[in-house]
Structure formats: C-alpha cells, structure tokens
C-alpha cells in the first residue's frame, strides 16, 4: 500500500469533482483495499462515498420495479423482504457470494465494479495485461481455473467474478450513473462491462468522475420461477466456476420465456438471448436444455486448465433448468447456496 489522501465528502458534487481530478472512489473497500495492499491499485487520493446522502435506500419505482441505492450493502439487499419475494434470484446470488462479514461491508456499486479474481492479476511477479498493459497474460498456459471461456481475447481471459451482477443481468437491470455534469444517465447492466479486446485494463463503460448511484430493476416477471445455481470448489465462500441465474416462466407444459445469465465463464456477466430463444415455446427436456447449452458455448475458447468449464457449464445449465422447470422434481434438496 502506498500513502494516499483520504477524503469523505458529504455531497456528490464534491465527490464527483475529486473523481474528475483523478481520485478513486471507495465504498465497502472489500476489494479496493486488498488491491491497494498488494500495490495493484495505487491511488493517490481515495474518496470515501459512504457518507453521501440518498445512496443507501431501496425504493419501489412507479412501474412496479425497484431502485437500489449504490451504497446498499449486499447483506441488506439480500435480506430485503421485497427482494426475497419478488427477485429471489438476486437474493440467492448475493448470499452465494463472499461471506457474511464481507457482505456486511460490500456495497451494490462496489460489487458491480469489483475486479477480476484471476490469480495472476494479484501476483505482481507475473505478467498481466490487465494490471500492466502489454506485459503478457500469465493465465494462458498457466492455471486458468478461475478464468473465462466466453468473451475473452488473446490479451486477457479473465472472468468477471460478481454473482450479484449475474442475477441483475438476468433481471434486465439498469445502472444509474451520475455524470460529472451532474446529469444522470442509465445503462443496461450488461453494457456497463467492456470485453477485454486489446485493452483489458479498461473494464467499465464509465468516464472519469462518474459515480454509480443506483441499480434499477424492472417489475418482476410475474409467475416466473427464479433460481441461482452456483458451482464452485467448496460449498460456500468461493467464487463461481460456473453459475447460472435463471428466470423461467412456464405456460402449462411449455416454456413461455427464459431469462438466463451466467457467471464464472464470461469475461463479463454473460447473457446470450439466442440461448433463451432456443427454449421459448418448447416443452422442457434434457435434450432441449443440452441444445440451449450448445448454443451458449458455440464460441467457447478454453485453456487446458479450464477446458472442464464447457461441460460443467452445459450440465449446470441443464441442472438449473431442470430445477426451474420442475423436471428434477426437487424443491427441498437445496444445499450449498446460503453461504
């Protein structure tokens, strides 16, 4: 960690000005401080957002949706009665992430913007294009277990680690951003993330000085079953190898609609509507789900050490859809999701 200035503004204008001048925002600090200790991020000025007014609320929106302030903690959001009732996929995704202590500190905005868990990104002895542009990518030819297989580039194969963001993608969430001008813009959560391309160091579609102020969820799809399935190297407190957020609506014996997003396999929280199109209007079956998975993975690019992610993703999707459509016949055997 390097010495840095610390300020804790009481209003957004001051914060925004400092950020425009090159400061780095901090919310829960659960990711940023770790990165600062390892000198992977070396901000000279850290602006603490946690005293900004109005960013810690959860409110209903006029169209039946929900507005989640950027400073709402992961614990509070997961425990919110409306979230649990109307967006259980989000509550489950949150509870599948990190640990109770971390979720108490972690915020909605910070969670969206947490950085990759590619181990080489955290190891300054090793080349990493994301950390140090043009130095190389150690994950390739290395241990890429935690890396992605979709949306990657020759420069970087890192996965985005957030569980919450995967659920939000399945729910068609919008991110509310305060621009330096003081105006607000919104962005579909999927557009917040940039694919690595030839510049993996640039990860988010945010300009200097912009602050995430909220996430807005549309009204829940009524009558849809929601599930979040996360497969990982231990039962809790581990990042996803593969995760699936599913919001599935049935019409009698056929699938009316399916909204699916994926974690652990994408360079960003992954959604692919072509997968959903395979399912819409069809009767659920393992074969159908396998077909959908093949569409999902049509462009998958794997390393030796993460080649297993393709079959694992396929089977996790099948499993999640079996649960969501009732094929697995199990509603009670729910182990491992509440960390």
């Amino acid at each position: 960690m390097r010495p840095f200035d610390y300020t804790r503004p009481e209003n957004l204008e001051v914060a925004s000005q400092a950020l425009t001048d090159g400061a780095t925002p901090i919310a829960g600090g659960t990711n940023l401080i770790d990165l600062m200790k390892l000198q992977i991020m070396t901000p000279e000025h850290v602006v603490d957002l946690t005293r900004l007014p109005g960013l810690s609320d959860i409110d209903g929106t006029p169209d039946g949706g929900m507005r989640i302030g950027a400073l709402v903690s992961n614990s509070v959001l997961a425990g919110d009665p409306t979230v649990r009732r109307a967006y259980p996929v989000l509550a489950r995704a949150l509870l599948a992430g990190a640990s109770g202590q971390i979720r108490n500190k972690a915020t909605t905005g910070g969670n969206l913007l947490q950085r990759t868990r590619c181990p080489y990104f955290y190891d300054t002895a090793m080349p990493c294009n994301k950390r140090e542009p043009n130095s190389g990518c150690s994950a390739q030819g290395g241990i890429a277990r935690m890396c992605a297989i979709l949306g990657t580039s020759p420069e970087c194969i890192a996965a985005h680690p957030s569980d919450m963001a995967v659920a939000m993608r399945a729910l068609d969430a919008q991110v509310e951003i305060r621009q330096t001008s003081g105006e607000t813009r919104t962005l579909p959560v999927g557009d917040l993330y940039l694919l690595p391309g030839d510049n993996p160091a640039k990860e988010y579609a945010l300009e200097a000085g912009e602050v995430i102020t909220a996430v807005i969820l549309p009204a829940p799809v009524s009558g849809a079953r929601q599930t979040y399935r996360k497969v990982r190297d231990r039962a809790s407190y581990a990042f996803a190898l593969v995760s699936v957020a599913a919001v599935v609506k049935m019409d009698g014996d056929t699938i009316e609609s399916a909204q699916l997003a994926f974690g652990g396999i994408g360079a960003k929280p992954w959604r692919d509507t072509e997968v959903e199109d395979v399912l819409a209007g069809e009767a659920p079956s393992d074969e159908l789900f396998a077909k959908a998975a093949d569409v999902l993975l049509r462009d998958a690019w794997t390393e030796e050490s993460n080649a297993f992610k393709a079959p694992l993703a396929k089977r996790t999707l099948i499993s999640a859809l079996r649960d969501a459509t009732g094929l697995s016949g199990e509603t009670h055997f729910d182990m491992g999701d509440a960390a």
Binding site: R117, A125, G142, I143, R229, D233, R315, M335
Partner: protein, 729 residues
C-alpha cells in the same frame, strides 16, 4: 537435579488410581478466555518498546542470483531505516522439523519464486511494506525445473522388499493396480509466521511462533552464527502450527539480523501471501498402489510407490507409505519412493506427514479391492488386520482397530449402505464410505519442572501449545497427581529457559511432555509420602488433602517450603517390545449431484482409540480438526503451482480452499476406552494427527458408493467428479 526415566518396562496405571478425578475430564482450556478475548499475547503482540517493523522482500524469479539491489530508490522513503539484502545469514527456507541447525543459507541465491531474500525495516509497518514492494532488483536468471513429473534429477530411497509382490500379483484372485494423485497443501495457520527480535548485547530474545523451542534455539543460533546460550525464545501462544512452525523460519532470522544491525527491536510478520510463498508445504504426490488378494479378500501383498518433490538439499521427503507398513497384513510387500528435485517452493511436514495423503491412496485402494472381491469394505479391513506387525513381527501394544470399525459401522448405520448409484433423491446420489485411521505413536525425550507450593503447583517446560490444549492437559496431569483442582495448577510454557520438552509435532507432544510432568509429580508424591510416613503406593491426594491409611493432613500443612522436582522421560526398551500406534475408523455419507459433480458431506463419524484420553474436550477438538482436514483433502484443498514458475498461485484464503462451514456437517467423534502400557507411563497416545489419517478416503469412497465414480485424483473438485459422471452418459 533432573530425574531421568527410561521407558524400559511397562508401568502401573497410576492415573487410574489417583483420587482427584480430573484426568480425562472435558475441562475447558485455562487460557481459552484469554484467546477469545484478545488478551493472549501472540508473537507479534509482545509488548516491546521502540519497535521497528520489517517486511520481507520476495524473490520474483524462480532461480538465479541477485545482481543488483536498487537500495537508493527506497532508502530515502519516509521512515525507512534499513534495507538488508543479500545477507548471507538469510536462510533459504524454514528449517525442517528437529533439524537443530540452520537450513541452507546464501543470501544472494534464489531457488524458488517467493523466497524471502531480504528485509526492509521502517518506523511503521506500512512504510516498510511500501518500500519492500517498491524495491527494484536485478537478477541473473537460470533455467529452473518445476515439474515433478518431468524432473531430470530424482532421488530414490533404498529398495524395501518383503517376499515377492510380483509373484503375489500373479497368483492373486483379486488385485488392484492404480495410481493416485494428491494436491499440494499449505498449513495456513490462523496466526501467520511472526517474530519480534530484541537484543541485549550479544543476547537475543525472540518472541516467536515456534513449535519445537529447543530445536528452534539451535537453528536460530546456527543461522546467526552465535552461541546457543545467547538465544532465548518465548513462544507462549501459537495460533496454529500444523508443522509449518516446526523449524525456525525466515521471518525470525530476518528480524534477528535486522534488530542487531539497527540496535532496536524489530518485528517481522509474514503476510498471508508470504506464508503461501515460503512456508514448507505438503508436497503433491503421485502414488501407485498394488494390492494382491486371495478370493476372500485376504491380502497376499501390498506395493506402495510414490513420487514426491522438494528443493535440492532438503532432507525431507513426505513419508507417504508410513501407515502402509503396519496397517494390513500380507507377506509380500514393496516400497519405493522417488523425490523429484525441483524448484517449487520447498516441502516439509504438514499435519500427519505421510498418513494424510498416503492413507488416502491406501484406503481408496482397499475400497477398490472390496469392490473387486465382493467383500464388504468394513469386513475386508477386519479380515486383513494382521496378528503381528507384518514386517518386524512385533506385537501391537494396544490396537482397537477392529473395535473401532465395528463400533463405527453399527452406530453409523453401515448396514443401510447400498450398491453404487442405488440411492438417488432428485438429482442427488447418496452413498457411504469407510476408511481406517492409523497414526504411529512416538515417545520423545521431554523434561519438565513441577513446583509444589503451599497454595498450589506450577509446571514449567519449554513445551508449546499450538492451539491443541497443552495448558489444559498438563494442568490436569499435575492436578490429578498432586490432588489439586486444575485451577490451582499454573502451567508455564514456551520459554526456552524452562526444561527442554519434546515440543509440538508428530503427535508426540502431549504424551511425551505429559509423561515428564507425571514423573516430576510422582517424585513429589514420594516426598509427600515420606512426610506422611507411608509408601508412595499407599498415598492418596485429593483436593489439597493427603491421606495414608487413616491419617489425613492438609497439603499446605505438610509443605514448609516449595518442593521442586525436575524429571525427564526418555524412550526405552518398550518400543522394541511392541509397536505403538493410534487407530480408528472413519465413516462418511455424501451426496453427489448427478449433473454438476458437486459433493456435499451429509454425515461423518470417527471412532478412535488412542490410549488414555487426557482431556476429552481437547481430544475431540483435535479429531474434529483432523476430520475437517480430511474433507479438505478429499474435496476442496489444493495449492496450485504455476506450471512455468513453480510457485503457488492460490496464495490467499479466497483462492486456497480449505473447507468452509457449509462443507462440514455435524461430526461425531467417539473414543474407545484404551490404555497403551508400552507407550509411556501415562498410557496415552498421540491424537493430533489420527483424525486426519484416512479421513479423506472415507469421503471419496462414499462418492464411489453414491455415484459409481472412483476418485483417484484429489481433491475431488466438481470437474474431477464430472469427468467420471460423464462416462455414464
């Protein structure tokens, strides 16, 4: 004067006769409240004035020399006091257990990525860390091999053969011939490696986190080129060791070098990442096991081969086949071990070195033999318990393996076990597995002083408590022997100025140091008996009262001045008369997801016989911990080495997955009543490593029973199980 006692013959079970009634009782640890309320001072927390802070500098190449250090670049940073690079006293890696001398030293030469090659000292920790991270080094780099499977330099142990295993395999009705791969492990103790060094003239005091104090004194003295008399180590509390603190480690040597030079106390604490970089890991293993059996499953022979790895010039190779030598019978036996000399970070003892991974392979192979021969896995083990040690012919001192297997099977409901893939609920398969547990027992020289005062007793020994309960059990032994409630016995540990104990390692600590306390107390009892005018055998001591026949006196009235006794236990002839080991049996029930290969342990139970249990609560806690390690070995734990650089890239607890709460179900632990008369005068055996031995195999054998997938690569992460499941598609 020290009374030395050699364990030359079986001793009467005095602790079954004494009157206080606290031996074995599940008393809480006397220091427990200090620990949970933050009042126990661990190494880094010792109150020392004028402390400066050192941070280790990490080598970022695998092999080569430091050519240039850009000291000037950090010298002028605020607070920086000193930069110690390329000091030839800096050790390459921590000492192996019981080395008693400095490990390899050469301040300039790097042999693994992550090697601590210097220390930067500053007024504050943050300043030192910043400077250490910014320090620029130039290297001349050399080629380094890091792949154990393709190492050009390997060393073989001597051939060890009994009978003819090839012949046995030829004539076997059933046989197993499989390869098992286990991942490297790191003992990530909750308290990272930490030291504060304080010099007074030529003498250094080290507040350290040290398991084997008497050896650590020698190692530190040797590393620093000073006399042993000039080193004092204080290690009253240790936040977990698991073998990683057996030998003096880099932070201690660095703190001592820096403090001497600066004329000011220096503290060095490893970061979690540095622990993964530099602390001795458990090697990865590749093991090949061949079992030859008759039609009814009776073993004709066993072969256990393995490949492990370590740095050049390290004297340790994981004793993978340790339990294979004595657990099961069969006249034809062969052992071979190959150590690959590579430049991964060094390996050493990690909890139950040998058994922890060796028994996972052996007990899986036994499960495969059960399958091949159609004999129930519990029954197969029972059939193969040998009369006497299959290689030395010695009788076993006390061995309740059969009882453990039978008791465990009946309380676990083993008779409900079905054939593979027969139990399925929704998308989850369920199955049961069993494995034997064995961890050989040792007695090592150990010395203690016991002082009986008119108001209580004091125990002093340089024995350590690494979180295991030494304070509790030594107090119980002294209290039991002297007729005092445990609260009136003060136990002082971890100070090298106290009598030299065995230390904590290899499960020998409790029985060895407990025996020394027992012997010192016994000498005190004799003195009291004298004062009472009776023989020691007729004396009863309880609650501060001494009784002989119908004479009863208060202890405090008998003692006009402190009675001090120093006693030492040494191993003797009994170990040549009988072979001593702890035994047990693990049972596990798991669920395996048919689509994703996720495994959840639903129930797990261990039945153990380890001689006299000194404190049922702390013993149970050891077994829980061991079984949880077993779950980790089976399902979650893997130190992943970079294939090019050799270092561990899973360098924190977010990436190195020991079992989390949700991975661990309710664990049932049961002890069978046993006394091991050949082990030592208190008839106790080691228990710290018994619980881990074999545990992982019970879990993976249950995976096989659940879904028909045989696990031969550990841990059984979802992808490993998935590969097997896909074969059924």
């Amino acid at each position: 004067m020290t009374r030395t006692f050699r364990m030359n013959e079986v001793q009467p079970r005095l602790l079954d006769e004494t009157g206080q009634g606290i031996i074995g009782a599940p008393l809480v640890r006397p220091e427990g409240h200090l620990k949970v309320s933050g009042q126990a001072t661990y190494a880094a927390e010792a109150k020392v004035e004028n402390l400066a802070h050192g941070v280790l500098v990490r080598a970022t190449i695998t092999k080569g020399r430091v050519l240039r250090v850009d000291e000037a670049g950090v010298r002028d940073m605020p607070g920086v006091l000193a930069v110690h690079m390329t000091d030839e006293r800096m050790i390459r890696n921590p000492a192996q257990g019981m080395m008693g001398e400095s490990p390899v030293r050469d301040g300039k030469y790097i042999e693994y990525l992550g090697q601590p090659i210097g220390v930067v000292v500053a007024d504050t920790f943050e300043q030192a860390r910043d400077a250490a991270q910014r320090l620029k080094l130039e290297y001349s780099e050399e080629e380094a091999e890091v792949d154990p499977d393709n190492a050009s330099e390997t060393e073989w142990t001597d051939k060890e053969d009994y009978g003819d295993i090839d012949m046995a395999m030829d004539k076997a009705a059933h046989s197993v011939d499989e390869e098992y791969i286990t991942a490297a492990h790191v003992a990530g103790a909750m308290e990272p490696h930490a030291a504060i060094a304080v010099w007074e003239g030529d003498k250094v005091t080290l507040h350290g986190s040290c398991q084997l104090v008497q050896f650590n004194v020698k190692e530190l003295a040797d590393a620093l080129n000073i006399e042993e008399e000039n080193v004092r180590i204080l290690s009253p509390y240790i936040g977990g060791g698991f073998g990683s603190k057996l030998g003096i480690s880099n932070e201690a040597v660095a703190a001592a070098i820096a403090a001497k030079d600066l004329g000011r106390p220096v503290r060095v604490v490893m970061s979690r990442q540095q622990v993964f970089d530099a602390v001795l890991r458990r090697t990865e293993t590749t093991q090949r096991i061949r079992l030859a059996a008759e039609a009814d499953g009776t073993l004709l022979g066993i072969e256990h081969r393995d490949r492990v790895s370590n740095l050049p010039n390290e004297g340790f190779s994981e004793p993978t086949n340790q339990a294979t030598h004595f657990l099961y019978g069969g006249a034809n036996r062969r052992y071979r071990q190959e150590t690959a000399r590579i430049h991964r970070n060094p390996s050493g003892s990690v909890r139950a070195p040998g058994e922890a991974v060796g028994m996972v392979a052996l007990e899986t192979a036994m499960d495969e033999l059960a399958e091949a021969s159609g004999v129930d896995p519990v029954e197969l083990r029972l059939r193969n318990i040998p009369e006497t040690h299959p290689e030395t012919g010695l009788p076993y001192s006390a061995r309740m393996l059969a009882e453990c297997l039978k008791d465990g099977a009946s309380s676990f409901g083993w008779d409900q076990r079905q054939s593979p893939r027969a139990r399925r609920e929704g998308d989850w398969f369920t199955g049961m597995g069993v494995a034997s547990a064995a961890r050989m027992n040792m007695l090592l020289p150990s010395e203690a002083r016991v002082i009986l005062t008119p108001t209580g007793a004091i125990v002093e020994t340089d024995m350590t408590d690494i979180g295991t309960g030494t304070y509790a059990i030594l107090g119980q032994i002294a209290g039991e022997m002297l007729g005092l409630p445990r609260e009136l016995v003060e136990v002082r540990l971890g100070d090298s100025s106290f009598p030299k104990a065995a230390g904590s390692g290899g499960s020998f600590g409790a029985a060895s140091s407990g025996s020394s306390v027992f012997l010192a107390c016994k000498a005190i009892r004799d003195q009291i008996a004298d004062k009472m005018g009776c023989g020691g055998d007729d004396l009863t001591l309880s609650n501060g009262l001494a009784r002989c026949g119908n004479v009863e006196k208060k202890l405090e009235d008998l003692i006009d001045s402190d009675i001090v006794e120093v006693a030492q236990i040494k191993p003797g002839d009994t170990r040549k008369e009988a072979f001593s080991s702890g035994f047990g049996a693990h049972f596990a029930e798991v669920a395996v997801h048919a689509w994703t290969g996720e495994v959840r342990v639903k129930r797990m139970a261990g039945t153990f016989a380890a001689g006299r249990i000194l404190n049922e609560r702390t013993a149970r806690s050891q077994c829980w911990g061991g079984m949880i390690w077993g779950i980790g070995t089976a399902l979650t734990e893997a130190a992943e080495h970079d294939p090019r650089r050799g270092h561990i890239i899973t360098r924190d607890f977010a990436n190195y997955h020991m079992p989390a709460h949700l991975d661990v179900p309710q664990l049932d632990v049961k002890f069978l009543e046993e006394r091991d008369d050949y082990a030592n005068p208190i008839q106790a055996k080691g228990i710290g490593e018994l619980g881990i031995s074999g545990a992982g195999a019970a879990v993976t054998n249950a995976i096989y029973n659940a879904c028909g997938v045989r696990i031969r690569k550990f841990p059984a992460h979802p992808d490993v199980v998935l590969e097997g499941l896909m074969a059924f598609d």
